[in-house]
């Protein structure tokens, strides 16, 4: 149902950042936050509550799943990985964003060409 909803409307930015962070390989919560910040060029820093709410939703939709657990500094670290369904959805979203960006670039170039002419 969630996948159906997401196909109908564009993916939210935190969801996109989390899926992108997990695309390269399994990561734990703190790693996802840092990676997401890096991916967005420092523009977006995920809050812990937002991250785990998204992970809860994505896990229910089977787009991500727990990979393994480690103990670091006496604290549990759970790693999450992207499922095949999650990768497919991220691919579709990437394609959609790329198409939108291409249209925007094309229109901007027309505008610039008109301005300089």
């Amino acid at each position: 149902m969630y996948i159906y909803d997401m196909k109908k409307r564009s993916m939210q930015e935190p969801t996109f950042l989390i899926l992108t962070a997990l695309a390269a390989g399994p990561q734990h919560g703190y790693g996802i936050i840092n990676d997401a910040e890096q991916i967005s060029g420092g523009a977006a820093r995920l809050q812990t509550g937002t991250l785990y709410m998204a992970l809860d939703r994505l896990s229910s939709a089977r787009l991500v799943e727990p990979d393994r657990e480690e103990v670091a500094d006496g604290r549990l670290r759970r790693y999450y990985r992207l499922t095949d369904e999650g990768a497919a959805l991220l691919g579709a979203e990437t394609e959609r964003r790329r198409a939108s960006a291409a249209v925007a670039a094309q229109r901007l170039s027309v505008r610039l060409a008109g301005g300089t002419a």
Binding site: Y30, T48, G49, Y52, M53, P66, D73, R75, R77, R78
Partner: protein
């Protein structure tokens, strides 16, 4: 993680743990340790208290997850059982409230006026008797197993009451700047004989009768003694103003102290319904919707109707909204039951073929724990229980809810 003093870290950890109580217990059980780790990792050196933004974020996300789980909470078996209990008690409470209200009105009018002056209002007394007989029929039909007929009568009465309420609201909104309650045209109310039905409770009664297994199932769950206690408690709580007026017709009902006492009485009555376990919690939650109109305010000063009828919560408007919102809640619960029925009717999976490699182990687990495993739904539960045991022993890394279950619909 930046270095910090142990006392400060312990204090911060304690405060984060307190904040994590905003999350549902099942979420906390699985994510608490790792969330705490991330929160401490992202804390500034020397930080001893969570920041305001983080506090708001954690509280809002915890609440959002709780809200997101409400449909599942209602669609569980307990949701259906709760609706069945409500279908038993709500019609009886509506009937008693109608009787109490009529009695209170008689007492109030009779205390101030001679008998012959009451003759013009006798027709409306007759109409309210018709409504009372209709709700008595709903109670009797429900208890004799004719749930659908009871639901139809309750729905007709509710529809008329809602239409009357809507009409009153429309007139109020149109004339709110010029009329006071005490100068409101009496002719209007003569055309609205069904307006005195408590619409939120009537809505609960009608939808629970229509969408649940019925009062007999509710009776089997709570028993006669507890059912009578619930009905008496709720009638006393919701009928508090009428009871006060019966005892003393000159009691100042518009007084704030009386309003607060009324809300308190209803809250106590709702607490009475809280039978142990998940069914009781759901019954209390459903019945508590009746509290909403009591919490709304109409009069700010004296008897003047507040001009901005939408700015200040209006009991009539809140009643209407609550009565309408009861239905989607019940439909979610009913759909859960329909889904379970559909799945029970499906042909069962041939487990020996689907998961041949673990068949013997799973079968041994079911036999050892004496778990029923003859339908797909029973197998789904048994599989989760088996996986939960394996997760606790460290044989698998996936929490059962997130892991694959061959019997769960996808």
């Amino acid at each position: 993680m930046p270095a910090r003093d142990p006392a400060g870290t312990a204090a911060l950890e304690r405060r984060y743990l307190r904040l994590l109580r905003c999350y549902p217990p099942s979420h906390r059980e699985f994510h608490r340790e790792e969330m705490l780790g991330v929160l401490l990792d992202t804390a500034r050196p020397g930080q001893r208290t969570p920041g305001l933004g983080q506090t708001v974020n954690l509280a809002a996300c915890g609440l959002a997850i709780r809200v997101r789980r409400i449909p599942g909470w209602l669609a569980a078996d307990a949701g259906q059982d709760a609706l069945a209990v409500v279908s038993l008690i709500a019609p009886a409470v509506v009937f008693i409230l109608l009787a109490l209200e009529r009695g209170a009105m008689n007492a109030a009018v009779g205390a101030r006026a001679p008998f012959w002056t009451l003759l013009p209002v006798l027709p409306s007394f007759g109409e309210s008797v018709v409504v009372m007989i209709a709700w008595l029929a709903v109670v009797v039909l429900g208890l004799t197993g004719r749930r659908q007929t009871a639901a139809k009568i309750a729905s007709i009465s509710l529809t008329l009451a809602l239409l009357a309420l809507l009409l009153v609201l429309v007139v109020l909104i149109q004339q709110v700047h010029t009329f006071y309650f005490n100068t409101f045209p009496g002719e209007l109310f003569q055309f609205l004989p069904f307006g005195d039905v408590p619409v939120v409770l009537a809505s609960l009664a009608a939808c629970s009768l229509a969408l649940s297994p019925g009062p007999l199932r509710g009776l089997a769950i709570v028993g006669w003694r507890r059912a009578c206690l619930m009905i008496a408690g709720l009638s006393a709580g919701f009928g508090f103003p009428a009871l006060v007026q019966l005892a003393d017709p000159a009691a100042p009902l518009g007084d704030l102290a009386f309003s607060l006492l009324g809300v308190l009485a209803i809250a106590v009555a709702v607490a009475v319904t809280r039978v142990r376990g998940p069914v009781g919690r759901r019954v209390a939650g459903l019945v508590a919707t009746g509290l909403l109109p009591s919490l709304a305010v109409t009069e700010l000063s004296g008897r003047r109707v507040v001009p901005a009828v939408f700015l200040v919560p209006n009991p009539l408007l809140v009643s209407l909204l609550a009565a309408v919102l009861v239905w989607p809640v019940a439909i979610v619960s009913w759909r859960g039951r329909a889904e379970r029925r559909r799945r029970l009717a499906e042909p069962d999976l041939d487990f020996t073929v689907v998961y041949a490699e673990v068949y013997a182990e799973f079968q041994a687990f079911c036999a050892r724990r004496r778990l029923p495993a003859s339908s797909t739904r029973q197998l789904e539960r048994a599989w989760d229980a088996w996986q939960a045991g394996r997760f606790r022993r460290g044989e698998i890394s996936q929490w059962p809810f997130y892991g694959d279950n061959p019997f769960r619909p996808r």
